[in-house]
Symmetry: C2
Subunit: 262 residues, 2 copies
């Protein structure tokens, strides 16, 4: 015989999947569900927790339990990399007109980039390995959030790293007041004579840590996508690394691979 809380959860899940309970609808109160199934309230709460962990429902203290609405998805595509590379050689005036984020996500200029912090950091083991330098090497670090204007929750947390000694020739790159860099990183790297050859992106997913949940305003029942982007120049050196944390329930990534013709 199935457990009581599973039976309650199954009944509600079926109702949601069948559309008897649509997005935004309120579920019966916990006391009602308990009475209907002749179970205690904690048992009902156990059932609701299952559905919450699956991302199907959302609880609102004092108001009730609701079927979750799908959130607006943001598309992130690797076509942006070639676009940014082309853009890097355009006149500065043209570059200032449009930001890279809008193009990458398909959204308009309502997007905002908040510059949160800028400074130096020492390479930890993972960064040192990726850059191919010694642990403890000094890096330039930028940390920022990307936010969709009509919502409060950011849709990306980004930490971006450069090797300080490599970029020291251009003082603008070390000058905090020059933020945000007009034309993006590729344009700035060009001032150092650096041309990018390829970009590697590693993607994993996991449930959010409490810190990630708070920063991305993630409700229980969502996942986090972690992306590490490594840019290599034409000498095959790793010149820039970005760690990006994305909310899984509102991010869609599109990678296009072009194949050589026969």
């Amino acid at each position: 015989m199935a457990k009581a809380y599973e039976r309650i959860a199954d009944e509600l899940r079926d109702a949601i999947r069948a559309g008897q309970l649509g997005p935004g609808d309120r579920l019966p109160a916990e006391t009602d569900l308990a009475a209907r199934h002749r179970r205690s309230v904690p048992t009902v709460r156990e059932a609701l927790r299952l559905l919450q962990d699956e991302g199907l429902i959302e609880k609102q203290h004092g108001r009730g339990t609701f079927v979750r609405k799908p959130r607006t998805r943001v598309l992130r595509t690797n076509l942006r990399h070639q676009w940014e590379k082309n853009r890097a050689r355009e006149p500065e005036q043209e570059r200032l007109r449009t930001g890279a984020t809008e193009h990458a996500t398909g959204l308009q200029v309502n997007d905002l980039v908040f510059h949160a912090s800028y400074g130096e950091a020492k390479a930890d083991k993972s960064l040192a390995e990726a850059f191919g330098v010694a642990e403890g090497t000094t890096l330039v670090e930028r940390v920022y959030r990307t936010r969709y204007a009509v919502e409060t929750a950011p849709f990306a947390l980004v930490s971006s790293y450069l090797i300080r000694d490599m970029v020291a020739e251009n003082p603008d790159l070390l000058d905090e007041t020059k933020e945000p860099w007009p034309g993006g990183t590729q344009s700035q790297l060009l001032t150092l004579g650096i041309e990018l050859d390829r970009i590697e992106e590693r993607v994993t997913a996991h449930p959010p840590t409490p810190e990630e949940a708070e920063e991305l305003e993630l409700p229980p029942g969502t996942s986090v996508i972690v992306l590490r982007k490594i840019s290599y120049d034409t000498d095959n050196r790793a010149v820039e690394i970005s760690d990006v944390t994305l909310p899984g329930d509102r991010t869609e990534m599109l990678f296009t691979t072009h194949l050589e013709r026969w």
Copy 2:
């Protein structure tokens, strides 16, 4: 004042992050934790559930609660697509020698592909849109699981679709007994004169449904990566679509984007 279960969870999480409790270590019994914090057992269980949802711990009925070990990760890279394309034109004997999965994941031939089902299906709305055909169009459907030999849990659930009318010219493609297709899909498409131009992969992440959790043997506190791969031929037609479900805690995806030289 912080809630009791949060304080207990914080204490344990700190101990794990600091390394006082390492991977595989057993946590104190729930009754012990309750006594130490002068709280009831359900309160302690609430704290443990938090950590479980974060993927930090794993409960084993009758044995105890343990700090989770990171699972062996499987790397999936888009370099495989070019590799498979090159392979498609090699002699059949050579193609039979190695499977595509081994190369794609970096694992050896211990991998197994279980063919679970093979048949026809009608295009639902999402597939019809992606293929650019009418809803209800007949498709050839293959459903299979990829498993790592030394573990019981599969690391991928795959549903692969072709348009039946497009592949009908080659009876081998409709013949179940010819499975697994020697040389992979690209090799078979070549027999129809179809050459692939590019591959699009869309990636999202979400918490597992009960069905996914069961099939992939996912413990609570893991995410699922969903990947839809669309292959386009040189006439820009979508010729093959695969929906791949991957366990988030053991999958790493690597996408390399090559940029045009200046």
